[in-house]
């Protein structure tokens, strides 16, 4: 057995994740991903009115605050057979698009960037040279030597006061950091600007969703924001959307490209084999066949062979998770019977179930969506991806990596953000024609089964509901982080993040920033506390990671 590194995170919002890797000769040889928190909402829902479900499940999380709401509402609509008005489809797309813009900006700058950007190194930068660099690579609205000098002074006062706040507990000075001091300073300044941008972008949800987090304007049958479908509110949304999208185009994308150019070796680290997308953003009333981001599956990285997604092939395994039994079941038949035994890498070791598609573990998320669209030959996505590969002069193989995952997230942000303008224009068009319909009335049936399948910032999300006597008989949801961070299955097949970690080089087991890079690239909302155990001395080092 090599050296075991345990990363046992403490999360603020949505569950705890523990990652263990076995390191031999400086390379990760094996990995275990363990969800440390039980989610019992499915049990809470049993016997309730189906219309309660969306509001309950939305509280699963405070980051992707809208997505469970959406899937749950769509599951009810599917069970009852409701067709929603066109305006409701558009509003849902706009709210969903806003979720992507906000989530992906926050992820890159505030959850992921510090894995690549050395804040302390930024203190060595020459502000004048930074201004020149920034003018070359980005079209940011702020810049100039005096601006960067001010940012540098602000960061310095953080560091000097010992109150690092967001920049505390990291591996500053680690040899795996490759940016120049100027590039570090530019990125840190954009980190700060992105804080401002995300706070404004969050308001997009409040305009058509009543509030953020946890929106309130969706119901089975449509949306309830009829009073906000007025020129001034639409204009307000458009103004904030434009501001956000300009940041995405002029700052986020150039920053990702600039950072990626220093880390091309990460184009060969952190990849997985199989990719699943449900698809999302229906562009007509035809449903998923008109999705902007299409659904599909890719096996063994064969981009030329995108297969249709067949939802009957989805099952969840519990053989290695803390639940009763060993059977893998389709979510319609799914049961949630917790049975905590103990953390045992050889047996059961996670609260997360192990979802499989046709028996295979699948990565979900931005990379899967972009690969499926690219493999299907979507012209918009293809151009974005090809231009990026050309800009970095790297082959398409680098997509299957930690770097590819992070780049795909940026590319889909700009792609979906652009589409939002089209939807806004459609909405205005409908309203101008006098179509202000937002709701389709319906009656609760005695019985019904339905599912809502969406593709949300972190990946494929599905909610399954069974209604009996007008009440919820069974409810299951399978969330993106379950796909990505799930454990082994009955056959011992490893999950995506486990697969992605194997082969990662580790320069210093006491400071495993390389592990964090790959784990964070999947965007689990976690702040980790890292314990590194030296098996010879049993010494435990505790390091908190951002």
């Amino acid at each position: 057995m090599g050296q075991i590194i345990t990363i046992d995170p403490v999360t603020r919002i949505e569950g705890h994740l523990r990652i263990e890797v076995e390191v031999e000769n400086g390379i990760v040889k094996d990995a275990w991903s363990s969800g440390q928190m039980f989610r019992g909402i499915e049990i809470i829902l049993q016997g309730r009115d189906p219309r309660d479900a969306p509001l309950f499940v939305q509280r699963s999380c405070g980051v992707c605050t809208y997505v469970h709401y959406l899937s749950s509402v769509e599951a009810i609509e599917d069970a009852v057979g409701i067709k929603i008005p066109d305006n409701a489809r558009i509003i849902r797309n706009l709210l969903h698009g806003a979720q992507f813009q906000h989530d992906h900006i926050v992820h890159f700058y505030h959850l992921h960037a510090l894995d690549w950007v050395d804040v302390v190194n930024a203190l060595k930068a020459d502000p004048k040279a930074t201004a020149t660099l920034a003018d070359n690579v980005s079209n940011a609205p702020w810049g100039g030597a005096s601006y960067f000098k001010r940012v540098q002074e602000r960061v310095k006062s953080f560091v000097d006061s010992g109150q690092l706040g967001p920049f505390a507990n990291a591996y500053w000075g680690h040899p795996a950091y490759k940016l120049s001091p100027e590039a570090d300073l530019m990125a840190v300044s954009h980190y700060i600007e992105a804080l401002r941008v995300q706070a404004r972008a969050a308001k997009l949800h409040a305009i058509f969703g009543a509030k953020n987090p946890h929106l309130q304007s969706l119901v089975a049958g449509g949306v309830t924001c009829a009073a906000d479908l007025k020129p001034d509110r639409v204009a307000e949304f458009k103004y904030l959307w434009k501001e956000t999208q300009e940041f995405v185009k002029n700052v986020y994308i150039p920053d990702v490209l600039a950072v990626a150019s220093f880390y091309k070796d990460w184009g060969a680290i952190g990849g997985t084999s199989n990719y699943l997308a449900y698809g999302d953003f229906p562009q007509t009333g035809e449903g998923s066949s008109s999705d902007l981001m299409p659904g599909g599956t890719i096996f063994r990285r064969k981009l030329s062979d995108v297969k249709k997604m067949d939802e009957d092939k989805i099952t969840e395994h519990v053989a290695r998770s803390w639940y009763e039994g060993k059977k893998d079941l389709h979510p319609y038949k799914g049961v949630t019977e917790p049975n905590y035994t103990d953390y045992d890498r050889e047996d059961r070791y996670s609260w997360i179930k192990a979802p499989r598609y046709d028996g295979k573990s699948m990565e979900v998320g931005p990379l899967s969506r972009v690969l499926v669209a690219y493999g299907k030959g979507d012209p918009g996505v293809k151009k974005l991806v090809d231009d990026t590969l050309a800009h970095l002069s790297v082959p398409a193989d680098v997509l299957f990596s930690t770097l590819g995952r992070t780049a795909a997230r940026a590319l889909e942000t700009v792609f979906i953000g652009n589409a939002m303008e089209t939807w806004l224009n459609e909405l205005v068009g409908n309203l101008t024609k006098g179509d202000d319909s937002t709701y389709t009335p319906w009656e609760m049936p005695d019985k019904g089964m339905g599912r809502g399948l969406n593709d949300v910032p972190r990946g494929a999300l599905g909610h399954w509901i069974e209604i009996d006597k007008g009440k919820i008989k069974n409810y299951q949801y399978v969330v993106p982080s379950t796909w990505n961070l799930g454990p082994r299955d009955a056959k011992g097949q490893i999950g995506p993040v486990e697969e992605a970690l194997i082969g990662t080089p580790i320069a210093d087991p006491k400071r495993p920033v390389e592990v964090l890079r790959t784990v964070h690239s999947f965007d689990p909302c976690i702040a980790c506390a890292i314990h590194v155990i030296d098996p010879n001395s049993n010494e435990v080092y505790k390091v908190k990671a951002l």
């Binding site: 603020r12 405070g62 953080f158 967001p166």
Partner: protein, 175 residues
């Protein structure tokens, strides 16, 4: 000269008894009093970083919260200035970590609001229940008084008591 913007922010988790006292104070203020235009009373719940936008858009911040300060349950505190990070860090509940982080991040954006924390030492923040303990509940009028005192210090004009309690959400809001 525009009037300074003032935010009274009640934070906490109402699911854990006294942990929710800040929110309960914000509710009582909102329901029973009318404030001048430059004063906003807000239930911040357990939002943490999601409050960053709100916090960065105010000049003065008055936080109401339960504070573990090693005193007797029911003790009232006023913490301001440099004492804040130290005191807040000493507490061991998640929403305060987030609040501190939001305040720190606020400094990264520019000058943070001038902040005062008004708090009460909890008796029970372990039990999962929606009601405050009698002891901490009895301190709500004192905490409200402390808020009024801060507002007075900031030269806030007329605060009028409502003739009947106002339930938020039942009036048409202008955006």
């Amino acid at each position: 000269m525009a009037k300074p913007r003032i935010l009274v922010l009640g934070v906490g988790n109402i699911l854990f008894r006294d942990e929710g006292v800040g929110v309960r104070v914000a509710e009582a203020l909102e329901q029973n009093y009318e404030f001048p235009e430059n004063v906003t009373v807000m239930d911040g719940g357990t939002l943490g970083l999601n409050l960053l936008g709100t916090i960065s858009e105010t000049d003065h911040l008055i936080v109401v919260d339960c504070v573990r300060n090693g005193g007797e349950s029911g003790d009232l505190y006023r913490i301001s200035g440099d004492a804040i990070p130290e005191r807040v860090r000493a507490k061991n509940s998640l929403h305060q970590v987030d609040l501190l982080e939001s305040l720190t991040l606020c400094q990264a954006l520019g000058p943070p609001p001038k902040t005062v924390i008004l708090g009460v030492e909890p008796l029970d923040m372990e039990t999962m229940a929606l009601d405050l303990t009698d002891l901490v509940n009895s301190k709500i009028p004192d905490l409200m008084e402390m808020v009024f005192k801060e507002l007075k210090r900031l030269n806030v004009g007329e605060i009028t008591k409502r003739s009947k309690p106002h339930v938020p959400g039942c009036t048409s809001q202008t955006h």
